[in-house]
């Protein structure tokens, strides 16, 4: 009877066993491999950056060509909107100055101001299981873990891993994502939970919830992870009365993202 293991099949079986072992470790201690992940992402980022460039240009080109008719219609609409917005701008300036003077009167502690870092998406893990993106900015650029990430339309996720040159964004649609939100009109709080599909659901709603379809949702700022007031999406209800969120951001066309950073004012030591 021949010996059932030759060299290659032995190493194959040993590596399969090792993979199972790693899976177990990854399941029970998911953060154990964070540094490995960021190291690999840092190593691959130059290649991913250059390879993704032509694809993004092609995608922009097709988007522009197919959208010419839409552009004309949008232009007319935007001109109309612009006239209205100019009037609103003047109103906003007045309200802003009034708001500042009232805050001063109340001695209210204002939230820290935020600055942002813009970055281009270089890799996408948009598959059936994990919803995340990789951007070529990291600790060198001042990115910190937990920072909120926005597209031009609204919230898309938060930073979960930061390497020297790259960072991973966990999208709000991922099953591991939970975002505290508030309904803009009614002030009701809830949690938006990712389901690995394009429409996250609302959980932890009160029994007598008065949230109606189409209500605008913003981040509540609870937990301190996301700042208050970031636009998130609108409420939709499915046939089983489960409340979901149609996000403002279109995840299919995201190319540039903004990473919010707390702008902490520099403190100067007093010279004695």
């Amino acid at each position: 009877m021949p010996f059932p293991w030759n060299g290659a099949s032995f190493s194959s079986s040993a590596l399969i066993f090792l993979s199972i072992l790693l899976m177990g470790l990854s399941a029970f201690k998911p953060h154990m491999f964070d540094s490995t992940r960021t190291g690999v992402a840092d190593s691959f980022s130059p290649v991913l950056f250059w390879v993704s460039l032509p694809f993004q240009h092609v995608s922009i080109f097709f988007h522009d060509v197919t959208g010419l008719a839409q552009l004309q219609a949008d232009n007319v609409r935007l001109e109309q909107e612009n006239i209205k917005l100019r009037e609103w701008y003047q109103t906003a300036l007045l309200l802003d100055s009034e708001n500042k003077s009232l805050r001063d009167l109340l001695n209210l502690k204002v939230e820290p101001h935020y600055k942002h870092i813009s970055a281009r998406v270089i890799a996408d893990a948009g598959n059936a299981y994990v919803k995340s993106l990789i951007v070529p900015v990291g600790t060198k650029d001042g990115v910190i873990k937990g920072a909120a990430v926005l597209s031009s339309d609204g919230l898309i996720g938060r930073i979960v891993e930061v390497g020297e040159d790259t960072s991973r964004i966990l999208l709000v649609t991922d099953i591991n994502s939970r975002v505290p939100i508030v309904v803009e009109d009614t002030g009701q709080h809830a949690i938006m939970a990712g389901e690995n599909v394009s429409v996250p659901i609302l959980i932890h709603l009160p029994q007598d919830s008065e949230i109606v379809q189409g209500s605008r949702l913003i981040t509540s700022g609870y937990g301190g992870m996301y700042p208050h007031g970031l636009p998130v999406g609108k409420v939709v209800t499915d046939s089983e009365n489960v409340m979901g969120v149609v996000l403002f951001s279109n995840f299919d066309t995201i190319q540039i993202v903004r990473i919010l950073q707390k702008d902490i004012p520099k403190t100067h030591k007093k010279d004695n």
Binding site: P30, T36, R37, A125
Partner: protein
Amino acid sequence: MSAISEQMEMFLRICVPYGVMFMLFIFNMVFFSTPLSTTIEIPFVVMVVYYWSIYRPTLISPLLVFIAGLCLDSLSGFPIGLSSFVFLVIRKTVSDQRLFLTGQPFMVIWLGFGVVSALSALVQWMLFGLMHMHWTPFQPVIFTIIAGVLLFPIIALLLNLSHRALPSLPDQYSAVK
């Protein structure tokens, strides 16, 4: 001098399939901004592992497959070891059947890929669900399988072209699994 140029030629010939493999590996990760990109992932690496497990298993050693899986898991945010496990099982199962598969017409190879790709996606989906205690929707997995099966002939053609660049190996080497 001619020995050096022969060695150089051999090296360059071997570089061709590895270059194609690396390109497909990167394509697995590159951000394609299309309306379907968030729901469909094209399993390029599964295609590569399947193809070479049939036609030249010595080209993709178990260690290389393991490392490719680890890199893919690290880049995509998958649980570490999941892709390595799936790729290694595909490599072992397919290379065990290569004596049968090598002589078959392309339709059989294509059908075989359909089965392998469906089973690997199913295993990946089940393991991911078990590890996260949450069953993700199955519809995107079906889309992924269909996209992979539809694109396989094109990728197989590309791999076949890179296969032609390879120097032919003596029988004792090509028979090693």
